[in-house]
């Protein structure tokens, strides 16, 4: 188990299918300030690549992606 990254808010998007994890992530990160970190948990296997594409396009930075027992965890720094 690696050391957890500090985060400012947690978004539970488990059980949601495309495109909800992305839509909820966007909405939640809009409420954060620049450089704050959002932790997002999903179970949608498509969300791994989707989140990377979304971050690339919106200019936010995924600090770390974790995968285990059907759950995907993303630490996203609001850079935009």
């Amino acid at each position: 188990m690696s050391a957890d990254i500090k985060f400012d808010q947690l978004l539970d998007a488990k059980g949601m299918s495309c495109p909800l994890p992305i839509l909820k992530t966007k909405k939640t990160i809009e409420g954060l300030s620049k450089d704050q970190v959002l932790k997002v948990e999903t179970t949608d296997p498509g969300s791994k690549n989707d989140m990377a594409s979304w971050a690339k396009r919106t200019g936010n930075e995924i600090l770390k992606t974790e995968e285990g027992s059907g759950t995907f965890t993303f630490y996203i720094k609001k850079t935009a």
Binding site: C18, L20, I22, L23, K26, T58
Partner: protein, 157 residues
């Protein structure tokens, strides 16, 4: 980086065909694209008041429609089959945490997706502007082309 733009023509009014335009529009908005959807012909049903969550899907003429047991085409044409297929698809969506059409439509509006209803189709089909949900603009081919000419992505669905 200049803001990218996308337009979609939504021309179908069945439950299954209402999803792609709304999924792509909401996701594009979440990816900071400027999005316009032009609703025409049967696609108008998606933005009729109170209609978004009562769209139907038909098993008829669709060999890929997942059914609990194989159903002959002739049976698919019987009364009640459409309702059954619709109920089945909705329950599959719900089980997998997929948003409803109504939810996606609300999220599209909330995220600033521009919605245009085709006035010509409305006239032909006897649809009044008061039959359409709030926040929709009314126009024709020129209005879509104006948006499309400045867009990187233009889809006809």
């Amino acid at each position: 980086m200049a803001q990218k733009k996308m337009t979609i023509i939504a021309s179908k009014g069945s439950l299954d065909m209402a999803y792609p335009p709304l999924i792509l529009a909401t996701t594009a908005a979440a990816m900071d694209l400027d999005v316009t959807i032009f609703f025409t012909f049967y696609g108008l049903d998606i933005i009729k008041k109170g209609k978004a969550d009562s769209l139907m899907v038909s098993p008829l003429g669709n060999p890929a429609m997942p059914m609990p047991v194989p159903i002959p085409t002739l049976i698919s044409s019987l009364p009640g089959m459409e309702a059954m297929a619709t109920a089945m698809m909705k329950s599959m969506f719900k089980k997998h945490g997929v948003a409803t059409i109504g939810q996606l439509l609300d999220m599209a509006k909330e995220s600033g997706v521009k919605l245009i209803a085709c006035q010509m189709t409305m006239d032909v089909m006897g649809v009044k502007q008061t039959d359409i949900i709030d926040g929709v603009e009314f126009g024709g081919a020129a209005m879509w082309l104006d948006a499309a000419a400045d867009s990187q992505i233009n889809l006809f669905i």
